[in-house]
């Protein structure tokens, strides 16, 4: 092990960002002898300018009758959300998926969409809907109708019962798988459409809904589904993804992009390189046999620094470009709020420290501009209680890389393959389960301006985030269809991909988050603001 001293280089006084690598323990900086130390880049910022969303004029239109209709039909609107979450749609387990697609299509029909269709694909189908409002502007509405699998323990309620729970902090919440990711806000958006139509008999913009049932699988077939409507989609003015964007404290973060994802399985099985090929054998045979489990452990260890925080795969960090000036301005604008809420984020994640001992400011840089490399799951041999002495014949790791712009799944796959081969792990298979690149929208797009204006009307100036650390298949919109994309809305929910997922329905007095009615009113304003932009 070579100890390396890394000098601290500031990213800009305003940012409070030091070079995160300076905080890396020496163990994370183990270069091959003579090679340059591998680490994620930390590009210095060129500007201290900060984007200020409060300078975007609030949307001024008034839609009192629509608002009143929303208020008068809250029970019915809530039941629509409960109907959606009660329909199982676990894509990874093919549980209820087609039924959910049909439910979505049926709701679009009922709203008066002139065209609807279940869109077949190699995987779970998409759902298409076209509402011709004879308007000048057209909005594509992206939806995902699938959900994550259910955690075996930790749920306080049946995850598919659509239970209303009185939360001591937030008031009445809908607690269910999909409550906030993503059925709740999606059906709330359709409730808003329903109220506009009920009052006005027309919509301010045309709508193209294109939903998929494989978002939680990495959207492997959404490009195919897009393909069936590509020419028409390209004529739209932007893409909108309804979302509960408010934090527990009521703040909204509006992301201008997402990271890409490469999700793969690494598997080690006995074979010509050694180890039992067909079944586990008695554990004492380890004295004369190779172990596929040890092999996987060492293959994994070869992929990162000892602290698990720096990917050692050659070329992994090479394509990463410096943050653009727009991204820098957005980052500068976001930083004060980000810093102020560090303790809140730590509490939400239940962590004592940030990776590599980073400061809060450094974590923002990492979240936005560098890829992550994670182990999602690991399994081999006997995993039950007590002892069972076996030498397993196989071992599996599930891994994901979150890619920033210029990294591609094809490139990562090849880099990992080359790395494992170079380390002698030619027998370890890599099976890609999903993969798509990052996506980016400019804060200057009319749809983005309309969204910021609508938020400002509702008293919540959004923080603009250059991108999310998470992933969604938005590249098909931003890169393929060349459309700006907005993902967001009023409202609060949490515990996505975890037990007790919820969305706030009727916030208790004093709560800073919007309830279902205001969530819907925001969507009304957004549609009109876009029409008037």
């Amino acid at each position: 092990m070579t100890k390396t001293t890394v000098s601290r280089r500031g990213l800009g006084a305003l940012l409070g960002l030091g070079a995160a690598a300076a905080a890396l323990p020496a163990s994370a900086q183990e270069p091959a002898a003579g090679a340059a130390p591998v680490k994620a880049p930390k590009y210095p910022f060129a500007t201290t300018e900060a984007f200020d969303a409060s300078k975007v004029p609030a949307y001024k239109g008034r839609h009192d009758k629509v608002y009143a209709h929303i208020d008068a039909h809250q029970d019915e609107h809530l039941e629509n959300l409960r109907r959606w979450v009660r329909q199982r749609s676990i894509s990874a387990q093919n549980d209820g998926v087609l039924e959910m697609a049909k439910l979505v299509e049926g709701d679009l029909k009922a709203l008066g969409f002139q065209e609807t269709a279940i869109v077949p694909s190699k995987g779970h189908p998409g759902v298409w809907g076209w509402f011709d409002a004879r308007a000048k502007k057209t909005l594509v509405v992206y939806m995902m109708y699938d959900v994550q699998p259910i955690e075996p323990t930790g749920w306080k309620v049946d995850a598919f019962a659509g239970e209303l729970v009185d939360d001591p902090k937030f008031g009445q919440v809908l607690m269910a798988r999909g409550a906030t990711n993503q059925k709740g806000p999606e059906r709330a958006f359709l409730n808003a459409v329903a109220s506009i139509l009920a009052v006005n008999r027309k919509l301010p913009v045309n709508l193209m809904v294109l939903a998929e049932g494989e978002e939680e699988l990495g959207s492997p077939n959404y490009p195919e589904i897009i393909g069936k409507y590509e020419d028409r989609l390209k004529t739209a003015d932007g893409v909108f993804f309804p979302m509960n964007s408010q934090s527990p404290g009521g703040k909204v973060t509006l992301p201008m992009g997402v990271k890409g994802i490469w999700y793969a399985e690494l598997e080690s099985v006995g074979g010509p390189q050694g180890g039992p090929k067909e079944a586990e054998v008695h554990g004492s045979q380890k004295s004369i046999l190779d172990s596929p489990v040890w092999r996987l452990a060492h293959a994994l260890a070869s992929l990162t620094s000892v602290d698990g925080n720096t990917c050692l795969v050659p070329g992994f960090y090479d394509p990463i470009r410096p943050p653009s000036l727009e991204e820098q301005r957005l980052t500068n604008g976001l930083m004060p709020a980000w810093l102020a809420e560090e303790a809140q984020r730590k509490d939400a994640l239940k962590v004592d420290r940030w990776m590599n001992g980073m400061t809060a400011g450094e974590t923002l840089y990492e979240h936005l501009f560098n890829p992550s490399f994670n182990i999602d799951g690991l399994v081999s041999g006997y995993t039950g209680v007590g002892t069972k002495t076996i030498l397993p014949h196989k071992a599996l790791a599930k891994i994901d890389v979150r890619m920033v712009p210029n990294q591609t799944p094809e490139q990562i796959m090849q880099q990992f393959r080359d790395h494992l081969d170079a380390k002698g792990f030619t027998d370890i298979t890599i099976t890609q389960l999903s993969g798509y690149p990052a996506a980016q929208t400019s804060v200057d797009a009319p749809l983005v301006r309309a969204a910021i204006g609508a938020f400002n009307k509702h008293g919540v100036t959004p923080r603009i985030m250059p991108r999310l650390a998470g992933s969604a298949p938005y590249h098909v919109f931003t890169d393929r269809l060349k459309l700006p994309l907005v993902t967001g809305g009023m409202g609060h929910g949490s515990a996505q991909h975890a037990p007790n997922e919820y969305m706030v329905i009727k916030p208790k007095a004093g709560s800073a988050v919007a309830g279902l009615a205001e969530v819907e009113k925001f969507y009304v304003d957004l549609l009109f603001a876009l029409a008037e932009a």
Copy 2:
């Protein structure tokens, strides 16, 4: 990485044993800079003398009436075996264990044991039985009445149904969990006792049965159970463990000892060192959070050479003594047969090669004289089908070390703790689930001579193995009670700790393995041979 050239040093021309380390790939020989390469020792042999069991006179006594009784009661005897395997007794899952203990005790009572008892312990109880035959010699019979958990897939029959299956190779077999490990041969031994008593109304030796229900857990409480009868057990002439010792080809290997075992769980959980502490979080958080899974992967990788075959824990190999002259003679005697059956062993284990590319001769040395270090199980996060993107808050590995004489569980535990601490993995917990040292008996003990004589009578001169690569808590007999121990018998079974475990009952014509009747006759001869020794 430093390439190290290791010179080949022969272990003796007769043995065909080269220094196995010479075959290690360079990757397995990664010393810390300046330190001596870590590897398992390969002590040269001082003698080429080979022990020859065929020189031990065959037992000459005749017990025709007892033999005839066995033949006449085969149906009843077989039903006894089926009754035992039908009673579940999975110690790791506390499934049926007490019921099995009562069944064993009831059978001893029924045979006429004057004393029987369920022996409470901190874990599953033992079973005691004393048969006072007013004989000069006393034999302790060790039994285990517990079995391994059931594999979720791969069983052709209900593992607890006691099914008789027509095996194309062996003829009629009993296929069930515990059929050969160890209920089958144990109950066969009691069948032999029953037939002697039915014919002779007395036994040639006194019997002390002391069974345990935690062998598959590493016998954590057997020392406590022994303690209750220690003074009486010490007066015995030896300990016998009934076993199906015949290979598929009919050969018998009689082990003079066993390796010890240290079985532990290594667990990594988020905490002050980083990572989520209470629950999994979204996988995209890896960009700013430490991962307990990566931490476990690297902690594991730190424990062995890259090939997983050399333990890098300092001091691990230090206590290992050179093979004794008796062990060398036994090894020399065993080697020709061991070499002749290499292909058969590879086929049974479904492996293409031996660890480190060893020759067959080298594998015998490793099996006998060096410890093994194995991963039995590994689990973290999402292990189901498809993708789920989470950063798990914990990860677990189940590991076992098979110890040779002079290594102790206490020492291994401390060495592993010190190693992980030195590598900075102070937060990784080590929980020992079982641990006991190796055990050894001299081939010159009268009980061993009696056993070899009985085998020679049955036409199968046993190969004497200095020790098994597997483990059993025999140290309590050999070290604590100072008694010689014999584990073996006629008969064949396999797939212990695996699906479709079986014991041959009625071998088809031409088969070289004994059926149940001859298994029982061997036990008869052994008891008389010991009485006359």
